[in-house]
């Protein structure tokens, strides 16, 4: 097998770029904590409300001062339907589904979580600006999928 000189340079450049891309996202993910949303807790999808923390959906302040927002997604809405969190504080979203697959996606942020029945998903985010953010379900969940949305109020302290 014979490679033309230019092809060697091209492949060298390409592979180098790919390594740089991977290193950048890898370091950012594993050293700075920016992994995509995920979780390893499972839950009985038929007994979501009987299982902590989903027995109390809503915004909770933790001992260390950060916030947890516990959310149940279901066809075709979210519980609680009104969410308020303070600006500049670390907020962890904890979500699961009572029925089919949904998503919990806050428009114009990196919070874009799949909500899978039987699984609990987490994502930590700090809002840097006050205001009302749109939340949509962007995974097909049935005839009312395009109505499945809510808002989150980020308020000053």
């Amino acid at each position: 097998m014979h490679l033309h000189k230019y092809e060697k340079i091209w492949l060298g450049f390409g592979v180098f770029a790919l390594i740089v891309f991977l290193s950048v996202v890898g370091v950012s993910a594993f050293h700075q904590g920016h992994t995509p949303s995920g979780g390893h807790m499972t839950i009985d999808p038929e007994n979501v409300r009987g299982t902590a923390p989903f027995d109390e959906p809503g915004v909770h302040q933790r001992e260390d001062g950060s916030y947890e927002v516990v959310i149940i997604a279901k066809a075709f809405g979210y519980e609680p339907s009104e969410i308020q969190v303070p600006v500049g504080e670390e907020v962890t979203f904890t979500v699961t589904s009572e029925d089919v697959v949904h998503s919990f996606s806050i428009v114009e942020t990196n919070v874009n979580m799949m909500v899978v029945p039987g699984q609990v998903n987490h994502k930590t985010h700090t809002f840097s600006e006050e205001g009302s953010y749109l939340i949509v379900c962007n995974e097909y969940c049935g005839s009312g999928h395009h109505f499945m949305s809510t808002e989150i109020e980020v308020i000053g302290q």
Binding site: Y6, W10, N110
Partner: protein, 40 residues
């Protein structure tokens, strides 16, 4: 083999073209990465 002695074909245009593709890929990737950072 006889091939080895032949000069390599001129592929300057090819080289510039693929490098342009490569730079396009890098630019597009960087812009979305910056968007990701801006939305952190």
């Amino acid at each position: 083999m006889e091939k080895k002695n032949q000069p390599q074909p001129s592929l300057k245009g090819t080289f510039i073209s693929v490098m342009a593709v490569g730079i396009f890929i890098v630019l597009m990737w960087v812009s979305i990465y910056l968007l990701y950072i801006a939305r952190l």
